[in-house]
């Protein structure tokens, strides 16, 4: 796996940089799709997508895995709170529901996602709970789900 990471770093010298523990950091989020295309050659699925809220940024950790052996690749990137990022669903269909969950709980918009709707919370629920600046407002306290707004 390490020579795959080295090849990847050499192919995108000003978009990627190595981080601790074998993770790769994506410094230019416009190159995301090209990098993920390269990753696709070696890895099969998006194993999980972890979003960490470090105000004023969101840190997305893409974990890729494959069906033989134990290799994983963690790709990390930072976006600002109000930015959107490309969806990798065309390359990794297993990212479909993970990106919907990130949208649901954090409010990150993914461009090009086929069905970006809330998945875990009800569709008319206000707010994105896993943000660090989430406050339980009166609207949330009084939400009953009985008056559907759609």
């Amino acid at each position: 796996m390490n020579d795959f990471t080295d090849k990847l770093l050499k192919a995108f010298p000003n978009g990627l940089k190595a981080s601790d523990g074998g993770t790769i950091e994506l410094t230019d989020k416009k190159k995301l799709l090209k990098v993920v295309e390269r990753v696709r050659k070696n890895f099969d699925i998006l194993f999980m997508l972890t979003v960490v809220d470090r105000p004023p940024n969101f840190e997305l950790n893409y974990v890729f895995s494959k069906y033989e052996g134990r290799d994983i690749l963690i790709l990390r990137t930072l976006i600002k709170h109000e930015e959107s990022i490309d969806s990798i669903t065309n390359l990794f269909p297993s990212a479909d529901w993970e990106e919907r969950e990130a949208y649901d709980l954090f409010g990150i918009k993914f461009d090009g996602h086929p069905n970006l709707k809330r998945i875990l919370l009800p569709e008319d629920w206000p707010g994105h709970p896993l943000r660090k600046d989430f406050v339980v407002t009166d609207e949330i306290k009084n939400w009953t789900g009985l008056d559907l707004k759609f």
Binding site: G21, F47, V52, V63, W97, L105, L120, L121
Partner: protein, 365 residues
């Protein structure tokens, strides 16, 4: 909503679906043209709660993820925090955890095959499978004090060591279960022509669908992919035990059922070896109750009873986690479900959903 099709809402409150799962199926005649899966009815915000609780106080929450095989997730959470703290655990604790993990795997598979038989109309079989599970529940209760939510692990070890004579009790229970699985279950299910008629050739999930959607676990092994984290990335003491990875080649409902039945027999083999080789001594706990975990990122993945589960822990050097993300295998099985349900009959829709073994506690967190 065009044409002459009916849109049928199955669930979320329906005696046949497994937990609160909603399927919206477009039906024409007796065939499902396409189906949409809606989840989220059991969302309890466990990932947010993780940011509010101390590391050791999070175990009751982790128990309720996969409520039929709770100890697997507890062990995963304990292993994650221990890896983040670079903590070494005792050998005896590793064996104890492996034994409990395998026991819970058998219990989870028994619930699966029982409720699967019930979906085909065979209520007797459901009660028989639960009867076998009772034998193991009594053992889990004797060891840890809890039946469904044991809360047995803590960071650095387990709460109680095995009691004297428990190894014999476990062996007796396992022999009974093995005998039942090999005789009664064979006649009722896998060599019963009504069962075979209802399950062979149905719900085929090819390798392409699996590899695109990230399906892991017994569902994946039923299509011939030979992968098991206990062999490919051994954790606890699985590298010291001799067992096989069970695969089947047909990838239909019958194959998924058979994989789990044979995995029960493999797990029985594993537990017997572990009990023989268990080192004597103290199951010492090597960490305080409230502790600081150094800052960093930790990813640990284990083979749960339903697939590859993982926890991604982000810490900032404090007493509570900064962010915890739980990857549950049933989430991905359900993501692949609409592709498998296309073109099947209505009566088979329930059978196929049941064969994917979704547990909504895991999916919705």
């Amino acid at each position: 909503m065009e044409g002459r099709g009916i849109e049928l809402n199955i669930g979320p409150v329906h005696p046949a679906t497994h937990g609160v799962l909603k399927l919206v199926a477009d039906i024409e005649g007796d065939t499902v043209k396409n189906a949409k899966v809606e989840i989220g009815f059991l969302h309890r915000g466990k990932e947010k709660i993780a940011e509010l609780r101390y590391f050791n106080s999070y175990f009751p929450i982790v128990d309720k993820l996969d409520y039929v095989g709770a100890l697997n997730w507890e062990i995963l959470w304990a292993s994650t925090v221990e890896k983040a703290m670079n903590l070494e655990i005792n050998d005896r604790v590793k064996y104890i955890r492996a034994v409990m993990a395998e026991i819970q795997r058998i219990m989870s598979h028994l619930v699966y095959i029982g409720s699967f038989g019930q979906d085909l109309g065979n209520l007797t079989f459901f009660i028989w499978a639960l009867r076998e599970r009772e034998l193991l529940m009594d053992i889990v209760e004797e060891i840890s004090g809890g039946r469904l939510a044991p809360m047995y692990n803590r960071v650095g070890g387990v709460f109680y060591d095995f009691t004297d004579g428990i190894a014999d009790k476990i062996n007796t229970a396992l022999s009974k279960i093995e005998e039942k699985v090999k005789k009664e279950y064979r006649a009722m299910t896998y060599e019963n022509s009504l069962f075979i008629m209802r399950s062979k050739g149905i719900g085929i999930m090819g390798q392409k669908v699996i590899k695109e959607n990230g399906v892991t676990g017994p569902n994946m092994r039923a299509s011939g992919i030979k992968r098991d984290l206990r062999k490919d990335e051994p954790y606890l003491v699985y590298d010291k035990v001799d067992f096989e990875i069970i695969t089947e080649n047909d990838s239909d409902v019958y194959a998924r059922f058979m994989v789990r039945v044979r995995e029960i027999l493999e797990s029985i083999k594993i537990i017997r070896q572990l009990l023989k080789d268990m080192p004597k001594g103290d199951a010492k706990i090597s960490a305080p109750w409230i502790m600081k975990v150094p800052a960093g990122y930790t990813l640990v993945r284990h083979e749960m009873s339903k697939g590859e589960g993982a926890m991604f822990l982000v810490t900032d050097g404090g007493l509570k986690p900064y962010r915890l993300k739980i990857r549950s295998p049933s989430f991905y099985s359900l993501q692949a479900l609409p592709l498998v349900l296309e073109g099947c009959k209505v009566a088979d829709a329930f059978v196929i959903t049941a064969s994917m073994d979704p547990v909504m506690g895991e999916v919705d967190r």
